[in-house]
């Protein structure tokens, strides 16, 4: 399956298992602009897979309300770039529902899915990675898969998790990535980073599409510099797996974090800050962040904007030679 098919499979499993589960958002009825919901309306009915009016604050608010009654709400925001009208509902409402009510009420059965990240030509409003805005919000979980197999397991965990979750799907991988994905349901735990390649000299951390970039950088480092890299996919942005990252840095002494989102205030800064607190004496070099520039995401200049393997490789080389 490719990534959009693995998402469909997860949604199919959810609706089959949980009679209260519903999927809604703009254009989900005919299958969705990225084909993630193809076939589900025919299979489960128009009361369970349906279009909403074009209104993100409504989609998320509506989803919260469904979840408050205990039913499972799976909302789609068509592009992560358009999630901002729903920011108030997510941050002020969904994230705080359980806390502010003293656990009398919650919207834990809400999951918001949204296409995320660069796609080659998306420009300002079809390329954004807004995870950092939500990282600053206790009460929600933010999850980003790197592959079809990861996507299905993580999405199922988000849907079943008793807290409101945002699941960002790297749109550039929807068709590009393909691998063996079981048809039956399975879960991948949240808040657990995955060491996808062990190494001894440098720790490389990323999430989503960028995991593939740093994996390639690890090969380049091995080949050109004889450097052994430990490659980690963070997977859950919040609550994030501090222990796995720190354990790795204690071993290697060097950390490079990379994301497409702009450098300033990007999630790499949170990781960097925590790691220097926890692992200060283990560090052999300053922590390196290779990120997008502090600009809106450009159209024609995308090849120059993105933190590609050459920029990551160069930063790694400087860290080794520090």
């Amino acid at each position: 399956m490719n990534l959009f098919q693995s998402v469909t499979s997860a949604l199919d499993n959810s609706l089959a298992k949980d009679p209260t589960a519903v999927i809604f958002g703009e254009d989900v009825a005919f299958g969705g602009v990225f084909r993630c919901t193809v076939g589900l309306r025919d299979k489960y009915g128009k009361d369970r897979v349906f279009n909403t009016p074009l209104c993100e604050q409504g989609i998320v608010g509506f989803g919260i309300g469904i979840a408050v009654t205990g039913a499972t709400a799976i909302a789609e925001i068509q592009f992560a770039d358009y999630i901002f009208p729903a920011f108030d509902q997510i941050v002020n409402e969904a994230a705080k529902y359980r806390y502010r009510s003293g656990d009398l009420f919650n919207c834990g059965s809400l999951t918001i899915r949204s296409p995320w990240g660069c796609v080659g030509h998306g420009a300002l409003y079809h390329s954004q990675s807004p995870e950092a805005f939500f990282a600053h919000c206790p009460g929600i979980k933010v999850v980003i898969p790197r592959s079809p197999f990861q996507a299905k397991g993580l999405l199922l965990s988000c849907i079943e998790d008793k807290n409101p979750c945002i699941f960002f799907e790297p749109k550039i991988l929807y068709r590009a990535a393909a691998e063996e994905v079981p048809i039956e349901p399975y879960n991948i735990p949240l808040s657990q980073a995955e060491v996808i390649q062990e190494g001894s000299d440098v720790t490389l951390v990323a999430w989503g599409t960028q995991v593939h970039v740093i994996r390639e950088v690890a090969s380049m480092a091995k080949e050109k510099l004889g450097v052994s890299c430990e490659v980690i996919d963070l997977r859950t942005i919040i609550p994030w797996d501090v222990d796995t990252i720190c354990k790795s840095v204690i071993k290697t002494g060097r950390l490079l974090i990379s994301h497409e989102a702009p450098l300033t205030g990007g999630f790499a800064s949170e990781i960097s800050s925590t790691v220097q607190e926890e692992c200060f004496l283990n560090l052999e070099a300053p922590i390196s962040r290779v990120c997008g520039y502090d600009t809106p995401f450009p159209h024609i200049f995308e090849p120059f904007y993105i933190p590609d393997k050459w920029k990551c490789y160069d930063a790694l080389r400087k860290m080794i030679n520090y």
Partner: protein, 445 residues
Amino acid sequence: MAVAIAAARVWRLNRGLSQAALLLLRQPGARGLARSHPPRQQQQFSSLDDKPQFPGASAEFIDKLEFIQPNVISGIPIYRVMDRQGQIINPSEDPHLPKEKVLKLYKSMTLLNTMDRILYESQRQGRISFYMTNYGEEGTHVGSAAALDNTDLVFGQYREAGVLMYRDYPLELFMAQCYGNISDLGKGRQMPVHYGCKERHFVTISSPLATQIPQAVGAAYAAKRANANRVVICYFGEGAASEGDAHAGFNFAATLECPIIFFCRNNGYAISTPTSEQYRGDGIAARGPGYGIMSIRVDGNDVFAVYNATKEARRRAVAENQPFLIEAMTYRIGHHSTSDDSSAYRSVDEVNYWDKQDHPISRLRHYLLSQGWWDEKQEKAWRKQSRRKVMEAFEQAERKPKPNPNLLFSDVYQEMPAQLRKQQESLARHLQTYGEHYPLDHFDK
């Protein structure tokens, strides 16, 4: 035919209604013979008639350039059952509620009024940090609450304490929330008047305005799917109705066919902002037809009018799976909150008029007196009793400790994340050394 259409249009314009509203009002009304508004059908393409084919509207062509004039001088009329002296105007509209129910309405309103006075004072004295009274709007709360089933889900804004009072939420718990003491079910997390009660199906209040509106719609959708025979009621003020979330909620409710009552308390002010600065159309009721929503405007200070409208809206919302909009006209007699002094933006005369001449409590009292169900002696006894009950609850709430500071950290997620637990431990260690600088004596150990 053309003459009839023209005449209908003139009548419609004078009424300040759009064509859609006319369609909705034309359906046999309150006594329930109407069908729900059918979904828009696409026109067949086979016809040779010169009829519009647009998917976006079901309408005739017109060859005269004419803008629809919004009519705010003769707005949607205000339904009432009692006059300002509590006398039934049209006997066929009298809901003939039994004595016990009317007494419950009266006692809920007056007990709320008494609690409001005491808690407002307690803020002035520095005993609680903040308070909002419900003066003048008690009728909107109990009239609507009485028309619902006890299990109907309530989403409120912040000035609906009478709904909880009618559902017998104990004084002890109102006070506990305001004091943030150890009995507060909300665990002391929010400012006063942010009540919530799972048992009584009253979703916890939050400060951001209108956020509850699309949420209520989602809850109604889920209730519909569950065949729960439940309505959801969503309260909000005329100010909150300006928020984007209100527009979102109305549109979703109509398109997704949700059994929901939108109940707008139009009390004339959003803090200091009068309605003339809040909207330019005919209030909130006139917006309903724009969304395809059955709408009505009622006298919010007339408990029976509120009751009748809510009762019928509930019946039809559940039976027909469609939203209803009730705009209850009323007046905010009190300040917006203890942080407000409304003499800065309105005259004492204006406030006094409503307090003395058109108050839901006095109107219902006149009704009770004329029925022979109440008298001065009972009034005096009840005032004394309700004051005593409130004072007792108040004194007890004052004496109770606050919850353990560990409760600062729980319920952020269902399970406490490792990093948060570390922060909790860090505070505990901090208090071991610096505890004397913190008000630990008032908190549960």
